[in-house]
Symmetry: C2
Subunit: 218 residues, 2 copies
């Protein structure tokens, strides 16, 4: 049991160390020796848990995916309007991207992973499914126009979110990501909301950001 607990701790240390090295050097330029040095483990310990660099990258992508899926799940279960939940989800994932090294390494690897043997599309598809659910709720609640095609809109919202975080990473190392997401919602809401709800909803992204900023300091 103690041994099993130790294995869990070691595995987590390897994932954290690998995330830091991948984030700094990129996937291809990272060697397993770098990961061992960063995580403070032996090569034997590393190979006990992961049999290749790709396995390690996939574990990071899974850990990132797990923590962003948890956000979606919690929000789906929370008693929150669909449109609020969708905006909160985007700001929450952005916070993780900016502050959690495993999440930012996971997202970077997801993009670099176009090189992997099988593509890594689960995070995008899951985010799209959550966004579809929020949009359908929004339609039932009168915040989203009935004529909006939910699948198309969800696909674009997740694509736009992906681009906002990529460009924010390149231009500001994600310092401006929250502000850029507020701007994103300002551009998207006119195409999503009925005319009589639009003025109210346009104030929402900044209000949600400010309230999160007040409580979380991020």
């Amino acid at each position: 049991m103690a041994q099993q607990a130790r294995a869990v701790v070691t595995r987590a240390a390897i994932i954290r160390g690998a995330a830091a090295v991948f984030q700094q050097h990129g996937y291809g330029s990272t060697s397993l020796a770098d990961v061992c040095a960063e995580a403070g483990v032996t090569k034997g310990a590393l190979y006990f848990h992961f049999d290749s660099k790709e396995a390690l990258a996939r574990a990071i992508i899974e850990a990132q995916h797990e923590s962003s899926s948890a956000i979606g799940r919690d929000l789906l279960e929370a008693h929150m309007r669909g449109i609020d939940a969708m905006i909160v989800m985007s700001l929450e994932i952005a916070d993780q991207l900016h502050n959690n090294p495993v999440v930012s390494a996971g997202v970077r690897l997801t993009i670099e992973a176009a090189n992997f043997d099988s593509p890594v599309d689960a995070p995008y598809l899951d985010w799209m499914k959550a966004a579809e659910e929020f949009l359908r709720r929004g339609q039932a609640e009168g915040d989203i126009t009935d004529t909006v095609e939910v699948c198309t809109a969800a696909h674009f919202i997740i694509s736009a979110f992906t681009g906002v975080q990529v460009v924010s990473d390149v231009l500001t190392r994600r310092e401006d990501i929250q502000q850029r997401l507020v701007e994103m919602w300002g551009m998207l809401l006119p195409g999503l909301a009925p005319a009589d709800r639009l003025a109210d909803l346009l104030a929402l992204p900044e209000r949600i950001r400010a309230s999160r900023h007040g409580t979380s300091g991020g």
Copy 2:
């Protein structure tokens, strides 16, 4: 003179070969030996033109940037409405991404280049400047609402375009990129166009795509 011409040919062959290898293996996993093999040149010839892998990657990013800037320049000089020019630019760059290996490798490298010593932000900033110019023309022509903040809107449009092509690459190897861009414009135009122009403008992206498809087969 003949020697100089040969050097130009060799340099172009190296860039094409490197683009193919970077695209297949990613930046970090590519070795200069792979590039020599793909381009059919000796290591000496490669080092005569490029003194490091990063120099080679930067040359590809520049070549990509040059061809996408040329699109923006040509469109700025064409007698075309701002909104038409902006939509054509997005579809044209998407075509290049799908069909020109140096352009797709350049864009992939731009994203991986968050790892380079100095960040590679010129393509994003140039695209944003072109989009700003098109939006201002659109305002003068009555297709874009006067209250649209041009810099913010241009920043988001380029970010959204970036995300659409990344997600299209991960999910479909860019097979669906043209369709996804038409959908993008459908989502963005309600936030950009005045009410009395919107119905007309919403038909524009599909019309432009269809006419391009008719003439270019792409």
